[in-house]
Subunit: 384 residues, 2 copies
């Protein structure tokens, strides 16, 4: 072990898998005959099982939220900024759990899993899943781990939406909801971007109506385009300007008058798109964007978010970032207002940050500070 | 003639064509052996030829800026809001000229034209063109029409950039520049959106490296995706929200759990994408986005816009729209500041409008008012 991990990292981690054999009825009317969850845990569950925190991942995330899979690895889990000894989700105090959502492509049952009816990958036959379905599947994991009530459910973006849905659907099982860079529902513009991404994937000739695995192909181009587009919405205009501006590759003063990479921002986007294709499944991308579009907990309450929140027992930390134009502060404020109007306890932080939506993944000092302070209160409350 | 056109419309119009046989050297180093321009004119050139106005079109526009091609037609030219009797570009006073840019696909020499060397459509062999090239090609049209000096050159978006470039490159030939919803250069985010659009087109298997016409195909899917994406950036988030919100098609209360059109905004985007494909050429789209990316009049002056503007003699009207996030007011203000710092005369209007970038095409009352007042002054000045 010549290499060391940073002191504030959970270090080497290993994913676990659990299979649930009881059928899961989905909101779509379909059901899964059973399902598997890939998950990771960091820290130790205390004797009272009071210090468990569920971390929920966003669109392209998975259960690898912190730490490293091997020595020498450069890239830790996606929420390394917030999970680890001394970090907001302090693994010296909390037992952190993060699972890959069903419909995902990193170990939990999803389109790349074998369909028991056919012995072949589900592909397009995997049923659509919703945020509520994820909450119900995660509740099984809580049962399995012996966690009756989460000290907190936390996440950013689509992960924050899951935390909100947890508080609504299973109010007895969650003490705190940490909802970061999220929204009570997608805007028309959000849906529009998702729709372009879906069209890019579905119109790729290698998509084969979603049965590309059986056909021995993959819609690489469509998925690449979807990811490139996504990346534009994850960064703020200012962040992109500061990072790339109009910088060009190569030394020539003059333009190249060709369609190869010329501006640095083009190079960045192509790289992001191409590397994504190697680690993500197109059907999963489609499912995740639909789950986002459908998310609207107020819908079942006549569009009234306050009514949706009435049965909530959790306390909330809501945080947003000033330069996030995907899920802007105004969307978070709508959640906060509805919570206040229903007499729930909520702390709200609007963090000045230039990084856009991606800020929730980054060690923005004020964000880490606010999040950490809140979680220390939670730790004290649950005896962690 | 049972049908009538609106009284403030120029009514029935017919496009004209002119061919220039002298070669045109392009900024890329290539040259066109000659070229044709499709154009339209509205109003009458006065005896002194002092009342001529050049209107420049944007990315997907063309020379059909006002009026109708036939009786019963529902859709007039793209700037019908601003061109016509009594409108800001008043055809009772001015002689309005609008030409299709070279590289275009509606009658001027471009990728769909036959390459004289091969007798087949240029396709991908059509050289890249820049805003400066357009100015020089339009100057030939001015010569041909007997216009030594335009009373004004006017346009929105990429059209406004052409007006700015006219003022810089041919200062003696333009009295006024009307620069609407434009920018002194594209931001990294602007370029990023263009790059995704280009990748969508160029990765379409029907693109055939741009030689799709010879191959008997068209990259319909890629061009559709590019247009869908473009439309998101033309509308403001608020406008999209007001127009579509989360409205869904059909009467079902519940979600469809399918990938067909479900939300109204999806239907709108698909329709916009599909109808665009029937009237636009993919190679032209590529060329236009590159001309946008390259536009940066300050670049040849060490990045100093003030130096670029030094030789300008024109007076300016600059206008922007509060909800335009493609070319936001801050971009227009940068042009205004540089003009003021070089002691040029400039009027600036920041128009409150919810329509986003598309506002420049719309009859926003305050915009029409400001634009009209400015043009009345121009009319008085040139004896129109």
């Amino acid at each position: 072990m010549s290499e060391q991990f940073p002191e504030d990292s959970v270090g080497l981690v290993t994913p676990a898998h659990v299979r649930f054999d009881e059928a899961l009825e989905l909101e779509s009317g379909h059901s899964l005959p059973g399902f598997e969850l890939a998950y990771e845990t960091y820290g130790e569950l205390n004797a009272e099982a009071s210090n468990a925190i569920l971390v929920c991942h966003a669109l392209s995330g998975n259960h690898h939220a912190a730490g490293y899979y091997e020595h020498g690895e450069r890239k830790p889990g996606w929420w390394e900024a917030c999970i680890g000894p001394g970090k907001p989700l302090d693994t010296n105090r909390f037992f952190i759990v993060c699972s890959n959502n069903i419909g995902g492509c990193h170990g939990s049952t999803g389109p790349v899993s074998d369909n028991p009816d056919t012995g072949k990958p589900y592909g397009a036959d995997f049923p659509m899943v919703t945020v509520r379905d994820w909450v119900r599947s995660q509740a099984r994991l809580a049962d399995y781990l012996g966690v009756e009530r989460w000290a907190a459910v936390a996440g950013g973006s689509l992960g924050g939406m899951q935390a909100l849905q947890w508080a609504i659907d299973l109010p007895e099982r969650i003490r705190h909801a940490v909802v970061i860079a999220a929204a009570p529902r997608l805007s028309a513009q959000n849906i529009a971007f998702n729709e372009v991404a879906r069209q890019a994937i579905r119109s790729d000739p290698d998509f084969h109506e979603g049965r590309y695995a059986v056909a021995g192909s993959r819609p690489r181009t469509g998925l690449m385009l979807a990811r490139m587009l996504g990346h534009i919405t994850y960064l703020s205009e200012a962040a992109m300007g500061a990072k790339f501006g109009r910088d060009r590759r190569g030394e020539e003063d003059d333009f190249g008058f060709h369609y190869d990479v010329e501006f640095e921002v083009e190079s960045y986007l192509r790289h992001q798109g191409q590397s994504f294709v190697d680690r993500f499944d197109a059907n999963t991308y489609l499912l995740m964007t639909k789950a986002l579009d459908y998310f609207d907990p107020a819908a079942k309450f006549g569009g009234d978010l306050e009514r949706a929140l009435k049965q909530v027992k959790a306390q909330f930390l809501v945080a947003s970032f000033t330069s996030d134009w995907r899920f802007p502060p105004s969307a978070s404020r709508e959640i906060v207002r509805a919570l206040l109007d229903t007499n729930k306890r909520v702390s709200y932080a609007e963090i000045r940050a230039d990084h856009g939506h991606d800020a929730f993944l980054m060690p923005v000092p004020r964000y880490i500070d606010v999040f950490g302070t809140y979680m220390q209160r939670v730790a004290a409350e649950v005896g962690a």
